[in-house]
């Protein structure tokens, strides 16, 4: 559905050119939900905007929904739906009118636009809101209205840019359901997110992007396996016994990142759950008393930390925000 090779995008800023995307290759198969995960400014939105024909790549090529991005952007536009981060409806306009007008720009007849639009309103939990002004809708409703706008011409490929940013947890979970529903109807979905739980819960495959380059790709499970094992933490009632526990842990096969602190000992080990019973017996045998045991499966945050050496939550310096194109970039 998407095949991109060597995508590069350079922005001209006052401080000189900035390479927001530095050679991205990516493939998305039919019927997948693929998540583009990275911190703010990593190049997610820029890459997505290139694939959606909104900005031209400085370099590289792509085939999107069967059409060449450079040679046939109109063909790409006909076949994709794009739900931008900024929304897509005017606050003063009537929701149904916006949907119908948008559909008609795709060449959909008015009658079909109304029928399809009202059906989508039902499917996306917007009943009775057809004649309402957009500004009277809640944040979650407005977001689902944006999705209706993106779906109204029945695209095979849907781009969602940060679909749940700014929504409360309930509205997010609800939107995830709807996004899964789209895939079940046969659509391919490509979304950007900087939420790990979102990528984890929703995506069949994840591409991790940092500083304009893809640093990892795979299923959430496969990515997590790249992190060396599960995190284990043994809590101690007597901090003085930490060195003794650490000595035992060091004997274990595959234990890494062993750290002791006032409250206990932490380390990583493959298949933490199966190592634990033996370990506990050993600790017990030397008379050390534990006050707690935790095992946690690696998260995508651990993946990101392993890949890039920093947490996804740090918005470090580096490439500026995703939206330099919203600065004064274009001069007539």
């Amino acid at each position: 559905m998407i095949e991109a090779r060597g995508l590069v995008r350079t922005f001209k800023t006052k401080r000189g050119p900035v390479q927001a995307v530095q050679g991205v290759d990516l493939d998305v198969a039919d019927g997948e939900i693929v998540g583009f995960l990275g911190p703010n400014g990593a190049g997610k939105t820029t890459t997505m905007r290139m694939l959606a024909t909104l900005i031209k790549p400085t370099n590289g090529s792509a085939t999107v929904a069967g059409c060449d991005l450079a040679a046939d952007p109109v063909g790409v536009r006909r076949r994709i739906g794009y739900v931008p981060q900024s929304g897509s409806t005017l606050p003063e306009a009537v929701a149904g009118d916006e949907v119908v007008d948008h559909a008609r720009l795709y060449g959909v007849s008015k009658a079909k636009a109304i029928a399809d639009g009202q059906r989508l309103f039902e499917e996306l939990d917007l009943p009775g809101l057809w004649r309402r002004q957009c500004k009277t809708l809640s944040g979650g409703q407005r977001r689902r209205l944006d999705i209706v706008m993106g779906l109204i011409h029945d695209p095979k490929l849907i781009f969602l840019d940060e679909p749940t940013t700014g929504l409360d947890p309930q509205a997010r979970a609800n939107l995830w359901q709807h996004i899964r529903g789209l895939r079940d109807r046969g659509a391919t979905i490509f979304l950007t997110t900087h939420y790990l739980d979102e990528a984890d819960a929703l995506c069949d495959r994840i591409l991790v992007i940092d500083h304009g380059r893809i640093v990892a790709a795979g299923t959430p499970e496969a990515l997590k396996q790249q992190v060396s094992g599960d995190g284990v933490r043994l809590g101690l009632s007597d901090p003085a016994q930490a060195p003794a526990v650490a000595r035992i842990v060091r004997e274990l096969d595959g234990a890494v990142e062993i750290e002791t602190d006032a409250g206990g000992v932490s380390f990583r080990i493959p298949r933490g759950g199966s190592v634990l019973p033996g370990l506990l017996r050993q600790v017990d045998a030397v008379g050390i008393e534990l006050d707690g045991v935790e095992v946690h499966r690696p998260t995508l945050d651990d993946v990101f930390l392993t890949m890039t050496g920093r947490s996804l939550r740090d918005d470090g310096p580096g490439v500026p925000a995703d939206e330099p194109e919203q600065q004064k970039e274009v001069v007539v």
């Binding site: 536009r77 931008p84 900024s86 005017l90 060449g107 274009v330």
Partner: protein, 254 residues
Amino acid sequence: MTVLTETWIVFHRQMRLSLRNPMWSILMLSQPLMYLFLFGPLLKPITAQISQGATTNAYQVFIPGLIVQLGMFGAMFVGFGLIAEYRAGVIEADRVTPASRMALMAGRVLRDVVVLVVQSVLLLVVSIPMGLRAPWDGVLLSLLIVALLGATFASLSYSVALITKSEDALAPLLNGIAMPLLLLSGILLPMQIGPTWLQRLSDISPLKHVVTGVRALFRGDIASSSSLWGLFWVVLLTVVGLTVGARTFRKESA
């Protein structure tokens, strides 16, 4: 789908939005009406003098200036609406559709032109009881000029709005352009009554020739050189304005 169909769809949406909230169009009309009622009467005693004997009807001098002013100022500030649409993501949503970039602009410009022509007609109707007398053909040609002028300034305003994407930049920029254009166009008083240096300076402004042309049309001098020059300049301005506008809309979508 043709560009015309797409233009119509965009126009239809814009028109519906304008009609939903007609306050803005009414406010835009209040400015020329105030000029008409509060400034127009001052011209009456000096009409013969400022028109150098061409007419004694103050409104034949004054109304042409007012409708040109309406065409210019009414259209000049439409960019603000476009920035609001940009902020709401509407421009982005339009640009991911296969619709022609030209149609996205043309539909909006067409709405602006329709609003302006309606406003101009209202202004003319109100002026009749105040004493305006002018030949039909001249008035119709003048309305055409206003429409073209509106299309020019609307396209330019949209271009600047799309490039700056900021009300803060657009407002001082437009005011900076509007003020000298207004003063040098002879909209309020004919430039002929000014000193020679000011007249020469105003000759640079195509708008002055447009105003002079519309005044000639209102006097019934349809085939005079003044009215032909006015037409020539407004057509030239329109070509330039629409070209710049279309280029910007295309370029901004990269």
